[in-house]
Symmetry: D3
Subunit: 244 residues, 6 copies
């Protein structure tokens, strides 16, 4: 089974972190195609970056679909481009944000999210509302660590995340923690151990959910919101991506 894992940004080192997290959790028979976005921003921090990340990300969805992927994972916690990817692909598309929430719903009554920048909080809150998980998410907490600083050991990222976990446990009465950035994928296990609470990494959650949906054999509904794009000719630098 091929799972197409698309890092929403173009930073290959982060794609490697994502790929490693994916490989670690994937089943024996699963092949991971971990790719950076075809073009666009090197990190996604807020709605402007989100907008420019989508076309390059969709290119990778399209490639994965052509290569016979059984399911797709959008490895950006904002679930960037999720609806467009579902319109494009027949095979299920899973965002790492939503996958983490789904996993949290199975094991906890209430959870908190710990993300990077404050500007991403509204994006995440809007997603939670759309998915219906707003009633179960106690709070989305920002650490104000830039996305790419997560890779820098001197950024103090792990400590800042740990501090927010403590506050989530004491102030939000969170029963589980969701890490709100693909770049935090390698921290989940040790944080869970340290704070004695389930800590969910969206990449791992999404891989297992993608395998599950592929195994289930259900494909994206083509009635309504995810109907295949109608044939039309786009103009300009993105004309090559016109739907046929």
């Amino acid at each position: 089974m091929l799972i197409n894992v698309v890092n929403g940004n173009t930073t290959d080192s982060m794609t490697r972190t994502i790929g490693a997290a994916a490989e670690k959790v994937a089943r024996a028979g699963t092949r991971i195609r971990a790719v950076s976005s075809a073009f666009g921003p090197p990190s996604i921090e807020g709605a402007y970056d989100d907008a420019f990340a989508v076309p390059g990300l969709l290119v990778r969805i399209s490639e994965g679909e052509a290569e016979g992927a059984a399911a797709h994972v959008i490895a950006c916690f904002d679930d960037t481009g999720l609806d467009a990817a579902r319109a494009l692909a027949m095979r299920p598309v899973i965002g790492i944000g939503e996958a983490a929430y789904h996993a949290a719903m199975y094991i906890a009554h209430r959870f908190s999210v710990i993300t990077t920048l404050s500007r991403s909080v509204p994006v995440i809150e809007n997603n939670l509302l759309r998915y219906g998980f707003d009633r179960r998410c106690a709070r989305v907490r920002a650490t104000d660590i830039p996305v790419l600083a997560l890779e820098d050991p001197k950024s103090g990222a792990r400590q800042k995340i740990g501090n927010e976990i403590e506050r989530a446990l004491s102030d939000d009465h969170a029963e589980a923690i969701v890490l709100g950035c693909a770049g935090m994928a390698d921290l989940a296990a040790s944080l869970s151990e340290e704070y004695q609470v389930p800590v969910i990494d969206g990449v791992a959650a999404a891989i297992t959910q993608a395998e599950a949906m592929a195994q289930l054999g259900i494909t994206t509904s083509k009635r309504g919101g995810y109907a295949s794009p109608g044939a039309k000719r786009f103009s300009g630098p993105l004309a090559d991506f016109s739907p046929r």
Copy 2:
């Protein structure tokens, strides 16, 4: 990997239907333990039956946990006893109702549920509200087929379900259909084919979700609502199930 699949009622023929559906979708390495509830009602139709089904169902959860199950599935669409089972078990517990909704959320914007008796509609609506999926479920439709009549070819069950699917597509603008009873597990594929819309069976969905959660390695949070029951001595016919 062992998945403990508990039919919430005591009807073994229905357990066999559930077991077959589970085996069909499970991965190569997964072993299915499909069992009827230890004691209680032969079918679960409404809140009274629900209440009497839980103790016998929890016995089977407890056995499964002792046998080393990697995850548990409650194969009753009402998600009967879900919270109690989560308090009891460390390993993830998945209800077939919630699993079906989670699967629907990944592939459709709006879905409808088609269940058996009218009296089950409020139970299901309460669950949807709790999980946050009430905004995405257009309607819960009853066919007024008793649960065990699903096994009787002369009940006209398939036709009645088909009629409701048609109404769900035209009136509710449903993009996917969720079958609201474990006893409908064998109908999903052919109904999907006939009506050209994703039709989700909760048993299959729950097996794949249970495998996913087991693979993810996250266990039920023991902070808050799912904390292990405190030791105390129950009295009466259920005293053997006192928590220690």
Copy 3:
């Protein structure tokens, strides 16, 4: 008028506290039948205990119905078994949790609940959501006093509850307080006096609501969710409770 008051647990000393609170508020012509659950847990702390409390509790509902009760009260703040009891009985069934919320709605815009253990908070929050009172309840606060310790003067229970009332007034801007355990029934009046805010005990609220519903002469709807259980034969230790 006979009101059937069922303590959801089997601890007779708590039944006496409940009975006394009931007698104190009941009208002259009301006869209180205060009984412990027929069998099950000695205290209800979380979802597992809830599940094992329901059958024994329903036995008492059934007896009360047979004795001609004009209404039933479930004297467990979790409103344990409420839907099943309504399916079973024709006469109105009132939970002490819901009764307290209804009373609070008549005299305050916003209220807070103060309960025993953290593990009960999700149960209560789920009820508030179902009933629609989640928008008016500022917060459910746990004191982490075990239920039966409420009877022990050395537990410091009254002081801990008082501390949470202070926080509810200052932090939640609560305009009324709901005491979240039947075992707190005797504290309401003095706490109300001390903190100069309405403090509602669910037992007293439920008795007056039960009298009101009985006087109104409306019985439980048998259309939909509370339809009488269909005749079927349960197996095992609870077979005697099969619906006929």
Copy 4:
């Protein structure tokens, strides 16, 4: 016990209908003070009438409080002036709309409201939302009978209400019916009989709820929204009602 029942309009024949419904359901020891509003509109149909009904209605609340009423009932289904009355009075104030919804919540999962004019539907929907009952009310149905025509046997009112009950049962899957006008008080019993479904009249519901709240001995919170009005001098025709 004195219950102060204020018809929100000035039509004495309607006050007599309300008074009769109140007397019929009240306990032996309860004295009903049924009064028309001191001045204002002869019927309340929509938000403009509502606004002009409140001052005259509050006069009657004030009188009732002075006469030692144990509780007040606002006998207008729009719950006209409810917040102002609560700010004015110490004793509990119950609207007949809210009382009917509370009663419905105890005996049904889902209910529909059947009212007079379409213009009242938004007023009622806004109330349902505020109280939190919007999730349980399937639909507010208008019969387009003017309020005072309810008293005219030739208006066909009973038939029109019956027709809407039929639709509520078949289309809304309502499990109970709430009659949405004080002028329908005398129809509840016979409609319930005819359609075999609980039909709730708000006047009767409110009397029993008012007795219940009075018996409970809880008074309106004076913290926050229902704080007593601060002393100030109003000008113009309503100057006599300045708070002191």
Copy 5:
């Protein structure tokens, strides 16, 4: 274009503050008719004052409609009498509360409201819920400054409001601030400057929204909730305001 700006209370000095704020933001071609309520309370603090303010306020709406106003503004942050005014008038009616929220929605994801007395908080929260902005308003904060004290430089009002802005930014993560009283109209600009965050005054917002709606040429719907009041004769001191 004539905009009819009605101060909901009778205090002319506050009407002058409102008028000045209105003139300052109005377009060249707009004529402001700033009037105090015809009669009623000198300040609106809570639901009782609200109720007695409406008739005098509606007199001014009626006059403005007769003078050919293109739109009406209700300059009380509680949006006092808004539905009644809409039933009365053909031309759009804008409350300063709702106008401020609408403006905040265009420029921020999350806002907080800072108002005068605690007793007004529930009124404002009910409005936010009705309008649908409750999900975007982080918190309604009271300063406990009486309305008319805003005009007194010695009241320390500006400092108290500033303190709450600081808390709204740090604790609520508010991205914009809404000033919750017409009497704060002259403070918005300097507070915005000082705290480097958009601070919205409802009077200015409502003037520009009223101009916008007038320019758009859409009038109040007369179907449903805002249908013109039916002709009937009111009794008592308000008889002159009977609808014809």
Copy 6:
């Protein structure tokens, strides 16, 4: 005052319709800059087109900001790219979808939306939920007219829209109608006349709202979700749009 009106698609004839609707409603002193998107899809039908429309649309926002626009209008009913545009611009950005809803809220309790293709319904429903208007929108109705067919007199578009208006009035009890596509801008007045109900065109609504916000002088909050994009270098065909 310059208002920058960006047609989200690249079809100039539609931009001319939009421009004409904008000019018609704009004030004397307003200059309209009506432009097609810089590149992308010729029409926006569903989430895939939405995604590819955003970059070209943002180019036009950026140009408008540089030319000193006092406010921006995104003339696509899906409010495509709204959050990204707000992050990019200091001056207020108004979507025609949200502007139409805001206008409807001022003049009606309940409205229905009539749009083009079924696949756009989920996009619109998600927006309504985010903005908080889901409780006031009775239904989003699709006519299944492709966007560009609106320009073709032989498409029967006006008749199909009229049919849906009739259903919205009778079935949804809508008090106002919102036209759900910029290409319907020229139909609002005559449909309003024919069906005797306010019919709101988003383009006109947005122009007047944009003028209002510009006049109000409030700019987009740069705290939180709409913070200016951080400087980073995008790769690929969209590199020119990297934030600095």
